[in-house]
């Protein structure tokens, strides 16, 4: 049970923050492009889900999984998008994402007068606290050698 990486995008599509813990596969494309591709995929998934849904939705797209990983998604009303990749053992990381947003991002980045609103996050404190929080999650385990 491990956590691979986390992306935070603002509503314009720029990646504000990226952090990885256990990533076993290099993307094969430059990081800028990977961010754009990830944002594009999330944007399209949201609009796809909106059209496909047989009834009105409240939360929208929550997560998806493939044969190897699961992506959990949270979108705030202000358009901030958080995407967390974990392995398949994690059923729902919505609470963790909500905690990352309200207790870490809002407290340490939004309320920080030195962090400009839609610029990439430079705050070292945010990175440290986020790292500590993620490592303290019950499903953050050591690297699984049998993957």
């Amino acid at each position: 049970m491990t956590i691979h990486n986390l992306y935070i995008f603002d509503r314009g599509g720029s990646c504000l923050f990226y952090s990885e813990w256990h990533r076993r596969r290099a993307p094969g494309i430059p990081q800028e492009e990977e961010f754009k591709l990830m944002f594009g995929m999330l944007f399209s998934l949201r609009s796809f889900v909106n059209k496909m849904s047989p009834t009105d939705m409240k939360d929208g797209f929550v997560s998806f999984h493939t044969s190897r990983y699961r992506l959990h998604y949270l979108e705030t009303p202000s358009g901030l998008r958080l995407a967390l990749n974990t392995d398949l053992g994690v059923a729902s990381a919505r609470d963790a994402l909500q905690h990352i947003y309200s207790n870490l991002f809002v407290e340490l980045v939004v309320k920080n007068p030195l962090c400009p609103p839609r610029a990439p996050v430079q705050s070292v404190l945010f990175r440290q606290r986020l790292d500590a929080f993620v490592r303290s999650l019950p499903y953050f385990g050591p690297k699984n050698p049998n993957s």
Partner: protein
């Protein structure tokens, strides 16, 4: 506990089969007097609510019927423009039915191709080695399950989030496809599936899967 629809997509991303098994309808019909307190605007080929959400009528809902007669896109059954009709006080009081717009076949084609690409991107952005594409997409109102065969055909099932046994159902649909579509000498590969036996057996399989309910079919 329901299975909403089944889509089959070919190697190139084109939709070759689509079945709507169950469509939960949440339409709201209300009588209004002039002036209308909802703001309506034209969107694509229909008239949607832009502002004024109330009583089950949400933003994004389309005008489905006026005075009981179904509207035809942006025109009423008589051929008058819906917005003009609703702007004329002489036509009130009027009874309008609002609801989610049903997908047209063109839209289904586009959505299937969109998913085909998203499936591939899901595999490309994987942080792990050897990942497949998106196998299950979860939202709060439905779950989309996708099974890709070795030949590149994708079977997608849209179901209620609590429905179980969908993996077995996907394998069963693959079996039905190979029995009634592939073995049919008049069926060309990668083309739309128009085989009666495929339809019949698919509907049977869906009913079996739904009846099995939360306990899943004993596989």
């Amino acid at each position: 506990m329901a299975i909403f629809s089944v889509y089959v997509v070919n190697k190139a991303g084109g939709l070759i089969y689509q079945l709507d098994h169950y469509a939960p309808r949440a339409d709201t019909e209300k009588t209004f007097s002039f002036p209308l307190d909802l703001v309506l605007r034209p969107h694509d080929e229909r008239v949607v609510v832009a502002f004024g959400q109330r009583d089950g009528i949400r933003v994004g809902h389309a005008v489905l019927a006026i005075n009981g007669a179904e509207v035809n896109g942006r025109f009423t059954a008589d051929g008058k423009d819906v917005l003009e009709f609703l702007g004329n006080p002489a036509n009130y009081p009027v009874s309008i039915r609002f609801g989610r717009h049903r997908l047209s076949s063109n839209e289904k084609l586009m959505l299937a191709s969109m998913f085909h690409s998203l499936f591939a991107i899901g595999s490309q952005l994987s942080p792990e080695v050897g990942s497949s594409g998106i196998e299950m997409l979860e939202t709060d109102t439905f779950k989309l399950h996708c099974f890709q065969t070795l030949t590149g055909i994708k079977f997608m099932v849209l179901a209620d989030p609590r429905q179980t046994g969908i993996d077995a159902l996907l394998r069963k649909i693959y079996e039905i496809y190979s029995d009634f579509a592939l073995k049919n000498p008049f069926y060309s590969l990668e083309m739309p599936i128009r085989c009666e036996l495929f339809d019949q057996n698919l509907k049977l399989a869906l009913e079996v899967a739904e009846k099995a309910g939360p306990f899943g079919p004993g596989s």
